[in-house]
Symmetry: C2
Subunit: 245 residues, 2 copies
């Protein structure tokens, strides 16, 4: 069975207190950059893979999407998303990304925020997305950056005084499972190289239209403790791509 | 004046003893991956930016290029390249990449190996290349990976026993000048993010066709001391792109 940490009571409670869980997109440091990569949603059928609390689904609806389907593995997350969402054109479904099997050309746009590093088989996900996207359709996603996932523990190297000295990179070309600490819990993630992320897209029928390592939004740099350290190493990778056709 | 470390006697002597200087492409760990990204050179006019000892120029000629122009800042390197090259269709010229100003559509293919991290203005180089490439023409290059250039000194973090514990990343989003140690000499390089490398290409009229972080060639892993550590962090970035047209 797929790991579903987000339905674990303790983890869910911790994640629910996370700034981006409480305040939504504006508390997400990468949002201004991700927003720039998004297509015009007006009139489009949109799929959000790993929609969580539904922030991006609501955004797509606000931008005029004809329909938005948010899928997530966590019933607890979806319950909150349903509660929060007023748009009738937004629907939610509990399912894994590995089960995506929608009809051909069911969507004009697919988005996904910080989810693909939880799947062991990225190529399979790309093929599943490709099948349900129209030709010329858009895929925009964020993942944890390979520099962030490579070593495993996802913790800064510290000097003798406990100060962050640098970010450690190791095992970069050793793709696969990592056990990271997140919100005090062990979470399984899958490290893959940048090469794998980008060339897998090229090899499964997508053209790359944007690749961005976001810096935190300027308004967060001086208001969130420790945020300036986010300028010291990349933490996320944002990619926009277009299905060939 | 542009720094030209390669005409410094001591540095030139050290670089000339480097495996890739003596044995050429087969001693370059990234060559098998770079080779895969190269276009078919048959009948093409090719520009090699920072050609050094001319190994890639000779390869392009062997593959049937109609003409190959190798440019480099170092007269010493070019003297060796001329000495080594038997193909009359290969010519060499001493000039900086920042001075590229060839006629429009002068080339069908542009290649460059480990040179662009020496220029402070990558966008300017891309525009210069774009102007002298035919529509649909190919650009293939390697650079030192942003993970490799970010912190500056380009040295492993070591533990108490002097063993390599991991690769340090720092100052990632602080683009610009770095002083690295290379072959015992201080060399000025310019760090830029992966975002800058890839999006600059997209914004100057190129489509991305391949992005590869090469692992060392298998035959080097067990024969060159320390080579297995090259699996622990990316050192180079290879990019293939096509001029829009």
């Amino acid at each position: 069975m797929r790991e579903n940490k987000y339905d674990d009571d303790r983890f869910f409670a911790a994640y629910s207190r996370f700034p981006r869980s409480v305040e939504g997109l504006r508390a997400a440091g990468e949002w201004p950059e991700l927003q720039k990569l998004l297509p015009d949603f007006a009139g489009k059928r949109v799929l959000d893979i790993g929609c969580g609390f539904g922030w991006h689904c609501i955004y797509a609806a606000e931008q005029g999407a004809a329909s938005v389907l948010g899928i997530d593995l966590s019933e607890k997350m979806l319950a909150v998303a349903r509660e929060k969402t007023d748009f009738p054109q937004v629907t939610y479904r509990c399912m894994a990304m590995e089960e995506i099997d929608f009809p051909p050309q069911a969507f004009e746009a697919v988005i996904s925020s910080l989810v693909f590093h939880y799947t062991p088989d990225f190529a399979d996900i790309c093929r599943r997305i490709g099948r349900c996207l129209v030709p010329g359709g858009d895929l925009v996603f964020s993942v944890e950056h390979p520099v962030f996932t490579a070593q495993g523990p996802q913790a800064w190297s510290v000097d003798g005084e406990g100060c962050r000295s640098h970010w450690p990179v190791d095992r970069y070309f050793d793709e696969g499972r990592r056990e990271a600490l997140f919100l005090g819990e062990r979470v399984t993630k899958y490290h893959r190289t940048l090469t794998t992320y980008l060339n897998t897209l090229l090899q499964t029928g997508f053209a790359l239209t944007g690749v961005v390592e976001p810096r935190p939004a300027a308004h967060l740099l001086d208001t969130v403790p420790g945020m300036r350290d986010e300028l010291r190493r990349p933490m996320m990778l944002l990619v926009s791509a277009k299905k060939d056709g």
